[in-house]
């Protein structure tokens, strides 16, 4: 029976059959030539054209051994290799993905479409993989499971926001747009970022709880802090003193509380949330103003007291300088 199937296979190869493109290697040792991915390359190419660029700040490492002793990353041998080394024998394949990270990013992008149906779970990732022509078992690549999906999504949203802010910044530099006031800029940035969550609002509490799992906290905190840092940077903050910390802490608080308000907001187009955001930013601005006033008032009061003390000394004759 094995011989029969062998014959069938040979016949198929001769007739050029087979929908799956499959470079045949003569020996298993020529590993340098077979580093491309074989599957559904054309469909992946379409996806690649319309997908958002992969954010550079992807934090999860997909190639750790489970052993305690840290071993060199398995992907290190793939990542630094240039594109030219992936010699592609069959001309039918379109563009291929150079690294596993790109393929994983594509699977996660496809999985986002299924979040409404399955929630932020491995089932969504499996469904996403199936739309790309991969087997559902490929969701096993994601050791962190749903955490990988959520972290990928927020990294993507942050990258989008940073792109938009950089674009606006360029336009201001070129003189094509007016620079915004700080409060307005902050409000717009936070609103833009939170609006990216609206398609997934039904399941967003599940995503937030996944981000709060202990093994995900370092990554989620990193994403949050880079987000807040980027927003302040494009708002024009170049402070180098304690203000750097207070500003970012304030914006982190605003962002988190607004997100929480947004989850239980049922008003039209989340209008309540934007009002809340506006009020909080106004609070911060007022507090900053009040702090400055208090400082100057304090100075004035101190000077006044000093003056009164000197006058008293003069009147009572204690003053020795005549």
């Amino acid at each position: 029976m094995a011989a029969l199937l062998r014959g069938l296979r040979v016949g198929r190869a001769l007739r050029g059959f087979g929908s799956v493109v499959f470079p045949k290697t003569s020996s298993p040792q020529c590993n340098g030539l077979r580093r491309g991915f074989h599957c559904a390359a054309l469909r992946l190419q379409e996806d690649k054209d319309k997908s958002i660029p992969v954010p550079p700040s992807s934090t999860t490492t997909y190639h750790e051994h489970y052993q305690e002793a840290p071993a060199p990353e398995a992907d290190a041998k793939e990542a630094p290799q240039p594109n030219t080394s992936y010699a592609d024998q069959s001309g039918e394949q379109g563009e291929e993905y150079e690294t596993e990270e790109q393929l994983q990013a594509h699977i996660l992008n496809a999985a986002l479409d299924f979040v409404q149906l399955h929630g932020w779970t491995l089932e969504a990732i499996s469904a996403g993989a199936e739309t790309l022509g991969l087997s559902a078992a490929s969701s096993g690549m994601f050791q962190n499971g749903a955490g990988d999906l959520v972290l990928h999504f927020i990294a993507q949203c942050n990258a989008q926001l940073t792109e938009q802010m950089a674009e606006q910044h360029n336009q201001v530099q070129l003189g094509q747009a007016e620079p915004k006031k700080t409060a307005e800029f902050l409000r717009d940035a936070v609103e833009t970022r939170l609006r990216m969550l609206t398609p997934y609002m039904d399941n967003w509490p599940q995503a937030m709880s996944i981000l709060l799992l202990p093994h995900n906290i370092p990554d989620s905190l990193k994403h949050l802090s880079t987000l807040v840092d980027d927003i302040w940077y494009y708002a024009g903050d170049r402070s180098t003193d304690l203000n750097w910390y207070t500003k970012r802490a304030a914006l982190t608080g605003i962002y988190n509380t607004t997100e929480l308000v947004m989850i239980q907001d049922s008003s039209e187009d989340f209008q309540d949330t934007w009002n809340f955001l506006e009020n909080r930013i106004q609070d911060i601005v007022n507090m900053a103003g009040a702090a400055k006033q208090a400082a100057s008032t304090g100075e004035a009061v101190a000077q006044g007291l000093l003056g009164a003390a000197v006058t008293l000394k003069n009147l009572t004759g204690i003053n020795q300088r005549r």
Partner: protein
């Protein structure tokens, strides 16, 4: 006390050897299997010149396949009992771990090579069934407060359509083994457990699987790959029959990392296991072959390299029980 046990063991060995040699020779004569020879014919030309290891012996490649076949033919009836005795039941945990890491979604197809008595396949079917039950329970709970939209759509779609959607995702497991005796034992187990749907039993050689390309979502080989004569051929076959995105998983004995544990493990392997084999299954040499073949198998890193050379990506391994068993996993991307 250890010394006296060793003396006792040696005496048993000496007696056993005499009985074993006679019984093995009887078995060689009686087992007239033409399929045996056809399996060897695949590697006939030139294989007689190349030699490989059979435990600590050196044999020709053609002979190895034949001898492995005989080993498993003789241990088939007592295979499960011996597994429990030798590993003190821990092999169940290893196999459960394999399933846990696999985390199969409903509707996927599993190929269990060297599946023999079907342990992995039974666990797979149970896992998928319990997952489906969990999903059904969750949807039932969610359906208890349906929105008016859901009620109206359920009135509009005919019931056959709804049923068809749920039945489309039935998972299937195929158990493939080169040895008919092992498959026979597995089929008997399936009958006694009442498992019938979604399970097939196929005779096949891991180096040349009787399946088309791109058939299976998951390919597992549990404690079987060290018995294959050409491991790289088996890996290539695995890559061939897996669908794109499919997963290769291999559970196999490997090198123990801790030196103290390694000494204990070696002592246990070479002193206890063959004795257990003789006492329970009446077969010293097969279990001697088993422990020797474990020593001959490449270690975790080398095997990982072999898997990558075959063309699988994202290859990782997980040491179980301190390295006694390693679970390797790779994807066909």
């Amino acid at each position: 006390m250890a010394a006296s046990i060793r003396l006792l063991a040696r005496r048993i060995v000496r007696d056993a050897f005499r009985t074993i040699n006679s019984s093995v020779s009887v078995r060689i004569v009686s087992s007239s299997c033409p399929s045996n020879l056809s399996a060897c014919r695949c590697f006939s030309d030139g294989a007689a010149d190349k030699s490989t290891h059979f435990g600590f012996e050196t044999v020709s490649e053609g002979e190895k396949a034949e001898r492995v076949y005989k080993v498993f033919e003789s241990v088939a009836q007592k295979y499960d009992v011996m597994n429990d005795a030798m590993s003190l039941g821990v092999h169940r945990l290893w196999k459960d771990m394999l399933l846990h890491v696999m985390n199969p979604q409903p509707g996927i197809r599993l190929l269990d090579v060297a599946g023999g008595t079907g342990d992995i396949s039974f666990r797979f079917l149970n896992y998928v069934r319990s997952q489906q039950e969990r999903v059904a329970r969750r949807t039932a709970r969610a359906n208890q407060t349906p929105s008016w939209q859901e009620i109206s759509t359920s009135y509009m779609t005919p019931t056959e359509e709804i049923e068809m959607e749920t039945e489309a995702r039935e998972s299937r497991a195929v158990v493939c083994d080169i040895n008919k005796e092992m498959l026979k034992v597995g089929k008997q187990k399936a009958e006694s457990m009442g498992v019938s749907s979604g399970l097939s039993w196929v005779v096949g050689d891991a180096e040349e699987l009787p399946f088309d390309d791109d058939q299976f979502d998951v390919y597992t080989i549990a404690f079987g790959i060290r018995n294959v004569t050409h491991i790289d051929l088996a890996l290539q076959e695995a890559v061939r029959v897996l669908k794109p995105g499919g997963r290769f998983m291999c559970l196999e004995f490997s090198k123990v990392t801790n030196p103290l544990l390694a000494r204990l493990y070696d002592a246990y392997s070479f002193q206890m296991i063959p004795v257990l084999g003789e006492v329970i299954a009446g077969d010293w040499k097969s279990y001697q072959y088993l422990v020797e073949s474990i020593r001959k198998f490449p270690d975790q890193e080398t095997f990982k390299q072999m898997i990558e050379d075959a063309g699988l990506f994202s290859v990782r391994y997980h040491n179980l029980t301190g390295g006694v068993v390693a679970l390797h996993s790779g994807f066909k991307l």
